[in-house]
Structure formats: structure tokens, C-alpha cells
């Protein structure tokens, strides 16, 4: 079957199998930041934004999001200029192996769009579904806090 997806503002007409998951379709058309880890909606690695809300692409049928708007980490930077969350992750040491990072950045972005000044507890709660086995979470939580500050204009990036 054919579906249309807008990914990071670009329209794609794609042939898919009806049973295909969004994760596989996005990877197939080149969005390799969308990665598989648990394949059972329990680790957050494959998080993308669907119409601005975080979803798990490993367990979302591609056919079910026909005609809708997807955002991945490939669309976050403005040319050479990184998004404040990307910048803060680098600055705070929030990425080690980096496998969880695209999903984490998208979940963080969704949080900051809703809440521009989240508390530590709100950050932990919003990102609780994004597992990281490398960092011990502290630098990632700090990075989101810092990015929020930058985005509010209270801190230069």
C-alpha cells in the first residue's frame, strides 16, 4: 500500500507493507537516527514525534500514521547550528555510546515544548521511559535543564 508521511517538513510518498512498523519505514527512507533496541515499546530508543507528541516507532504501524507529521533528530539542527538540547548533551557529557540519544532528544524536545521551565522531577518523569545504560542519567537530566534555560533566553548557548 501507499502512504504519505511528512518527515521533518519533507513530504514522502512511500510504498509499505500493511504490517510494517514506522521504525522500519523511517529507516528505509533514510532516517537512520531512528533505532531499534528492545522492539517492545519498553526502552524509548526509537522515540519520534508524531504531530508534536512523542511516540514509540517500533510499535506504531506505519499505515496508522498516513498523512501525518513526523519529526526525528535529523531535523533538529538548523543547518550547522545545533538545537540547544543537542548542544547541552555534548556540553554535559550526556552521550556515551549515543544509541539512546536521538530518542532522548526527541522526548526532551516534546517536554520543553509543553513546559519551558521543568523542575528536576518533571524532567525525570517525562524522560523516565528513555532508558540509558551508559550514563547514569545525571548528565542527561542536567542537559535538558540547561537547554531549557538557553531556550528561555536566560543562558547563552
Amino acid at each position: 500500500m501507499k502512504i504519505a508521511l511528512t518527515v521533518n517538513g519533507k513530504l514522502h510518498d512511500i510504498d509499505i507493507d500493511p504490517g510494517e512498523y514506522l521504525l522500519d519505514v523511517l529507516r528505509r527512507i533514510g532516517y537512520k537516527s531512528v533505532r531499534r533496541s528492545c522492539n517492545s515499546a519498553s526502552c524509548g530508543t526509537c522515540t519520534v514525534l508524531l504531530n508534536g507528541k512523542p511516540i514509540l516507532s517500533c510499535s506504531t504501524f506505519a499505515a496508522s500514521v498516513d498523512g501525518q507529521n513526523i519529526e526525528t533528530v535529523e531535523g533538529m539542527a538548523d543547518g550547522e547550528k545545533l538545537h540547544p538540547i543537542q548542544e547541552a548533551i555534548l556540553e554535559e557529557g550526556g552521550a556515551q555510546c549515543g544509541y539512546c540519544i536521538p530518542g532522548l532528544i526527541m522526548a526532551g524536545e516534546a517536554l520543553l515544548r509543553e513546559n519551558s521551565d521543568p523542575s528536576d522531577e518533571e524532567i525525570k518523569l517525562a524522560l523516565n521511559g528513555n532508558i540509558c545504560r551508559c550514563t547514569g542519567y545525571e548528565p542527561q537530566n542536567r542537559a535538558i535543564k540547561k537547554a531549557a534555560k538557553v531556550m528561555r533566553g536566560e543562558l547563552d548557548d
Binding site: C38, V73, L82, C97, N130, I131, R133, Y137
Partner: protein, 770 residues
């Protein structure tokens, strides 16, 4: 000490960071190979069985199924999957496919198909007839009379005692423990048990193989040990090393789980047999139950001391569960002694020993800490128990008995990894500073023994001290090559394997420091067996120390060469030259930039490629040290344990990149916290791992802890590159004993079986009330 450094000792961003945050295709699964065959494995549903008959004809008829291989299609060559120095101190007890299966998940057939769907269909249509054998599902049953023999095949080599399922055995004595115990005022004798753990790296094990234009086997794989991988593949397929190239892209986490050669041979077989590219990607369930897990261990621990707190004798006698195959069996067990016992170096007598046994459970292997956490749990907690017995602050007891700078332990020389060790005296040991700072941070004096209550909840604090190593001395070799470009930049080629630890970054920092160029002028390429020099790989906390020293030596050779060439070019003697910020200057004025110097040597003057290589093997393995503290709150109505605060201070010498180094300590601490409190593997009655996904196997998430405070103390290791030693593993050693000791401080309950599940605490509370 670090003030004079320009690039090392600074919190530089990771050199691979930009690609990571932009989601660039940098991991093995991101390599496109449109016509790669999908490789899938049919796995045994039985823990121990013989394949009586296997019928693949029907499955081969399925559309898009290319071929199916069983044990009769492969040469019977025993090997070990352990990525270790050669010859490996692990038994050769594994076959690519065998007529016998030894755990639930052992491969029975390899399917190659054009599509994922066809491969799965084929798996369902292979008919296997098994003769089911009795299985060993408890490690304590393995050596009993009449227990089924797991490795009865004649081709196996290096197994300690096949007839009793003992993969390996080790025993050492220093002095006479029994006699010394007779002279002690107090003797503590206990048994501690520690369950296995999953690595749970987020990138599943996967590999892509193909033949290049001249028929060489190319293997792109998520591995910690590319050179060992090449050697093992060469052995399995009887193929010259020259005909194999292993490329390691970025790795999505390893923690030791990718220190064995697991998936590569299956894809390689398909490529060799069909001539076609092949890709294998394990599912999460396969990663959990059919790669490697941690060695479950149990130790009888005896500690003898005088009333004043002087510890005189320690004995650790144990058993380790290596599962169906023996990779890393001897060495992990030895490390549970060799990287814990030297900590308490004032003793007069030490015993360490035990068996590493086969069971019909998933094979254990390397895992961050590599046995040290399993040894430290009984050792540290028994000393903690002793402290309460003699009414002494347990931290004080550990403090007065532990090793300090300028001291040694005979254990260093007696125990290495799979062989004897090397003698060494601590040239850097800031354990006292770790203790003092950690103690203040947790509020030890005001909280210990206070049992602060809030309704049904009661609080307590616990501590643990730890050490690790920095590479395997006289075994691990790392090498580096530096090649200069005419813009004054350098290519740094290393065999070292960055698995997310930041090693590419710190190795570049070392080269940049020596060559006085900005970090951006050093371009790192790591782990490609055709291009980079040899390195044993990322394990044993070796990269900073071993590979780092190799990079420093290579950079210094380049620097010497630059002086020599600049001397001729500027017509001055070398002794008149100095290098600063990428410019070589003579005392009397003339100077030349590195860019100009390289350019003239490439195109016009004394033409040559400026390039040098160096190798390094450690003569010793300077241990990092740590002092950790846990504060817990136990709900005495439910047994629920909340970790309020975990504090860890470590001495890793000079932190070449403080942010990355603290990240290692934080990440390892969290992994240890998970193992202590949440991560629990459950097997079904038939030996099948039931907790093989992230729903049933609970790794810690952001809401599962209170505070985590990890810091480094000032230290300088004179044998390390710019004063550095290791930090990758040590953080995982302390959470289990520190949390166990904190639970005791809160409740008076000694938990001697990790992980500390709430129901275990509750049962103990109920027992106490009865």
C-alpha cells in the same frame, strides 16, 4: 599537576559527539547493504539434548529462503568465543553448530533468506527431533556424583575436569589461614551469593559480512575486540588472517557483552557458503538469553581479626557458574580475588580458590568489573559484619586495614589473569582522600547507626571500598600510528575500541597535548584490522592506560622526528629548537609552523611521509581506587528499599577528560545499583530465561534512585599517560556491598544474597518479628 596541560585534563567534547547528537548513521545496523541476506538462528528449546534428526528440506522450499545450515554442514572445530590475548586462558569447548545443545537458546540451524519474513517462516518449518538429556540447572549440582556431563566431546581442549563439569579451577594460599585464624580474637564465617546480570547494551549484537572484490571476507561488527574477532574467525573457518578484515564502527554499548565473538561466525558462514553479503541482528530476547551474561558466584568467606581491628586472615572459597560454555571462566573467577584481596594488604594469610562449573544455562562471559564485584560483595560485607562484632565503625575498620600509597600486596605477584601476576607497589593511591570526602558528602557520622525513622520507614548508611586494575600487565598490548598531513593535522590510527567510553576522544587529547595542536587537528580512526595497528581491544580497564601510553609514545616519536627535520630545514641543531602551539622555534629567532614543515617535506625538501608508530605493554597495572557510600530507606511494612543517595569518590590518576571520566563512574555506579536492587534473572523449570526483555528485566530508570554523586580526587599515576589510570569498571564494584551494608545499618538485617529484592527484605523482617 594538570595546570600545565593544554588539552588533557580538560572536559573536551567527544570527538564523535556531533555525529551522535545529529543521529548520523554511525553504528553497524546503519550500514546499508540492500542485497544482504537475512541470517536467523533456530535455537534449542531444551536445556540439554542431542539432535537426533533435523529436517530442513521443506523449509528450503520456501520462497526467498536461500540456504539452511546444520551441524553436518560445518567443520567440527572447537574454539572459545572469549576475546582475550592469545593463547586464550579459556577452554576450547564451543562449535559453530553441534549435534548437542547445552542451554535453551543454543543454535541448532542457521537460516539465510532474502527477507526477514522468509527467514522466520523457515525457522518454523525446520523439523528437529531431540533426545532430551537430564540438565544441570543449579551450579551447586554440577559437580555432584551422577550429574549429567555437559561437555563429553573428545575434541574439547583446556577443560579442567570434563567428567565433573568443572571448566576451570583455581587455588592459591599465602601463609597458613587455618593457623592464623587460631590466633585471632574474632572470626567471621559467612556465605554470600550473587546472581547473574544482563549487560543490556541498547544496540543489539549485530554484524554485516560480505566478500570484497578480491574475495576477502569483510566483517563490519559491533565488537569490543576486532583483532581477536579476526583471529577467531580465521581459526573457525581455517582462513588466513590476511583474508579477513574486521571493521568496528561506533558501538551502541558493550560493558563486556561484546568482548566475545558471538554473532560474527554465523553471518560469516553464510557469506562464505553463498558468496553473498549477510546480516545478522539479534532480537532483544536473543541478546538476553543467547549471548553472554555475568558469572553467578557464591563464596564462603572467612575473616579473622584482633579486637583492635587488625585483620589477620582472609579466605574466599567459591564457585562460579559459567553456564554452557567456558569463555572467560577462569579469568573472571581469578579477578574476583586478584582485584579485591590486595585492598586489604595488612593480612598475614590469605586463601582464595574454587571451581568454575558448567551448567545448562546461558553462557557467562565478560562483564564490567569482570568478577571483582562478585568477590568484593563477600569480602567487604564480611569485614562490615566483623566491625559490628567488635563494635567498631565499619568505615574505620576498612580504613585502617586498606592499602595506601607506597605499599604493596604479595597477591599482585601471585594472581594475574589466567596466570601469575606482576609485583607492584602503589605509586598512586588516594583512597584516604576518597574516604574522607565521601564520608562528609553522605553525612556518615551524623547518620550511621541512628536508624532515623519516619513511620514505617527507617534509614541507614553503608560504605564499601574498591580497587580495579589498568589493563592486564605483560599481556595486553595496544599500538598507535600517527601520520601527518600538510595542513599540520594528524591522523591518529588506533586499534583501541571506543564502545561509548570516550576513548577516541582521550586518545586524541593525548596526541594533541604532545604535538601542541588543537584537539580538532587530530583525526581519530579506530579499530579496522586492515588499517589500524593492533590493540587487544576495550576490556580490563585497559584503554586509557595501555592504548593511551601507546599514543603518547607514538606522538613523542613524531615530535622527535619533527625536531630532526626542522633542524635540517632551519639549519640549526635540535637542541636549539622548541615546539609550542604548532610552531617550532629556534632560540635565535627563525621558526617554522608544523603545516609548512610537513608541506615542504611532502613536495619540495627532503621528501618523506612524516609518520610514526608505537606499541605499549604494561609492566604493571596501577589500580584505581574508590570509596562509595549508600543511604537507603527501608519500608518495614513492605520491604521496599529506596536508594536516597549514592556517593562515590574515585582515584583514577589524572582524569584526561573529567566529564567523560565522571561519566564512567556514574554509569558504572548506576549499573551496580540496578544489579543490587532491580535486575533479576528468572529461569523457568526447563532452564529457559523468562526475563529476556525490558519489561521483565528491570534496568534502572530515571525515577529509580534519589541522588547520585560521583566525583574524582586529585591524583597522579607516574606510569600512566599524563598521570592517568583507569576508570571504566571500578564504579560497578561498590553498589552491592555499600547498599547491603546500608540495609543492615537501617534494619539490622544482613542480606547475603544479591540482588536485594524487596520480598527478600520483607521475609527477613517477618522472620525477625517471629
Amino acid at each position: 599537576m594538570t595546570d600545565s596541560f593544554v588539552t588533557v585534563g580538560k572536559p573536551k567534547r567527544k570527538v564523535d559527539g556531533l555525529a551522535i547528537v545529529r543521529g548520523k548513521p554511525v553504528y553497524t545496523p546503519d550500514y546499508d547493504m540492500p542485497d544482504a541476506l537475512v541470517v536467523k538462528l533456530l535455537r534449542s528449546p531444551h536445556a540439554h539434548a542431542l539432535v537426533k534428526n533435523i529436517e530442513t528440506e521443506q523449509a528450503k522450499l520456501i520462497n526467498d529462503v536461500v540456504d539452511i545450515f546444520t551441524f553436518s554442514d560445518v567443520e567440527r572445530i572447537p574454539y572459545t568465543r572469549a576475546g582475550q590475548g592469545y593463547p586464550e586462558p579459556s577452554p576450547y569447548d564451543t562449535f559453530l553448530l553441534d549435534r548437542k545443545v547445552r542451554y535453551v537458546g543454543d543454535p541448532v540451524a542457521i537460516v539465510a533468506a532474502k527477507t526477514e519474513k522468509a527467514a522466520k517462516d523457515a525457522l518454523r518449518n525446520i523439523k528437529v527431533e531431540y533426545e532430551i538429556l537430564d540438565a544441570v540447572l543449579e551450579m551447586k549440582e554440577a559437580t555432584k556424583e551422577g550429574a549429567p556431563i555437559i561437555h563429553d566431546e573428545s575434541e574439547c581442549a583446556g577443560v579442567y575436569d570434563k567428567s565433573r563439569n568443572i571448566a576451570a579451577h583455581y587455588e592459591m594460599d599465602l601463609g597458613d589461614v587455618e593457623e592464623t585464624l587460631k590466633t585471632c580474637d574474632v572470626v567471621i564465617e559467612r556465605t554470600y551469593h550473587i546472581d547473574t546480570q544482563l549487560h543490556a547494551a541498547l544496540e543489539p549484537h549485530n554484524a554485516l559480512t560480505y566478500l570484497d572484490s578480491v574475495g576477502r571476507l569483510i566483517v563490519i561488527t559491533s565488537t569490543q575486540v576486532p583483532f581477536h574477532c579476526r583471529r577467531i574467525l580465521s581459526h573457525i573457518f581455517n582462513k588466513p588472517i590476511a583474508d579477513i578484515r574486521v571493521i568496528k564502527p561506533r558501538i551502541g554499548g558493550g560493558f563486556g557483552g561484546k568482548q566475545s565473538v558471538i554473532v560474527e561466525p554465523y553471518a560469516a558462514l553464510v557469506t562464505i557458503k553463498t558468496g553473498k553479503p549477510a546480516r545478522i541482528t539479534y532480537t532483544r530476547e536473543e541478546v538476553s538469553m543467547a549471548t553472554n551474561i555475568r558469572h553467578e558466584m557464591s563464596f564462603d568467606v572467612t575473616v579473622g581479626a584482633m579486637r583492635d581491628g587488625k585483620i589477620k586472615a582472609i579466605s574466599l572459597h567459591g564457585i562460579s557458574n559459567t553456564g554452557a560454555y567456558g569463555e572467560h571462566s577462569l579469568t573472571t573467577f581469578m579477578v574476583s580475588g586478584s582485584k579485591t584481596l590486595p585492598l586489604y594488604n595488612k593480612v598475614e594469610a590469605v586463601h582464595f580458590g574454587g571451581d568454575i562449573v558448567y551448567t545448562n544455562l546461558p553462557p557467562a562471559g565478560a562483564y564490567r568489573g569482570y568478577g571483582a564485584p562478585q568477590g568484593l560483595f563477600p569480602l567487604d560485607c564480611a569485614i562490615d559484619e566483623l566491625a559490628y562484632e567488635i563494635k567498631m565503625d565499619p568505615l574505620k575498620l576498612k580504613e585502617i586495614n586498606s592499602i595506601r600509597e607506597g605499599e604493596t600486596s604479595p597477591i599482585f605477584e601471585i594472581m594475574g589473569e589466567g596466570r601469575e601476576g606482576v609485583p607492584q607497589t602503589m605509586k598512586s593511591c588516594k583512597l584516604q582522600e576518597c574516604i574522607d570526602l565521601g564520608k562528609n558528602e553522605i553525612g556518615w557520622e551524623s547518620k550511621r547507626g541512628k536508624k532515623i525513622r519516619n513511620g514505617s520507614k527507617v534509614r541507614g548508611v553503608g560504605c564499601a571500598l574498591a580497587m580495579q586494575g589498568s589493563g592486564i600487565p605483560k599481556v595486553d598490548m595496544g599500538a598507535a600510528r600517527i601520520k601527518m598531513n600538510e595542513d599540520g593535522s594528524f591522523n591518529l590510527l588506533v586499534g583501541a575500541t571506543d564502545l561509548g567510553t570516550g576513548s577516541d576522544t582521550i586518545l586524541a587529547q593525548i596526541a594533541a597535548e604532545v604535538l601542541t595542536v588543537p584537539l580538532e587537528r587530530v583525526i581519530v580512526y579506530s579499530s579496522d584490522t586492515d588499517i589500524t595497528p593492533f590493540d587487544v581491544g576495550a576490556y580490563a580497564s585497559s584503554t586509557t592506560y595501555v592504548s593511551g601510553n601507546a599514543v603518547r609514545l607514538a606522538a613523542e616519536k613524531v615530535k622527535d622526528r619533527l625536531f630532526e627535520l626542522a633542524g635540517k630545514y632551519l639549519e640549526r641543531s635540535v637542541s636549539e629548537l622548541s615546539l609550542q602551539s604548532g610552531i617550532i622555534t629556534c632560540k635565535d629567532g627563525p621558526s617554522v609552523s608544523l603545516s609548512e614543515l610537513c608541506t615542504v617535506h611532502m613536495y619540495t625538501f627532503n621528501q618523506q611521509q612524516i609518520s610514526e608508530s608505537a606499541s605499549f605493554v604494561g609492566e604493571e597495572s596501577p589500580p584505581p581506587f574508590a570509596a562509595s557510600f549508600a543511604e537507603v530507606e527501608v519500608d518495614t511494612d513492605t520491604g521496599k528499599i529506596a536508594l536516597l543517595n549514592f556517593v562515590s569518590y574515585a582515584d583514577c590518576g589524572v582524569a584526561l577528560n573529567p566529564i567523560q571520566a565522571i561519566g564512567q563512574l556514574e554509569g558504572a555506579s548506576m549499573q551496580g545499583i540496578g544489579w543490587a536492587l532491580f535486575e533479576d534473572i528468572i529461569y523457568g523449570k526447563n532452564g529457559r530465561m523468562l526475563t529476556n526483555d525490558f519489561f521483565t528485566y528491570k534496568v534502572p530508570s530515571r525515577m529509580d534512585y534519589g541522588k547520585l554523586t560521583c566525583r574524582l580526587v586529585d591524583s597522579y599515576e607516574p606510569t600512566g599517560p599524563f598521570g592517568a589510570k583507569s576508570i571504566g569498571e571500578i564504579g560497578i564494584d561498590t553498589p552491592i556491598p555499600a547498599i547491603a551494608n546500608a540495609i543492615f545499618d537501617a534494619t539490622g538485617i544482613r542480606l547475603r544474597h544479591a540482588p536485594f529484592k524487596s520480598e527478600r527484605v520483607l521475609f527477613e523482617i517477618l522472620n525477625m518479628e517471629v
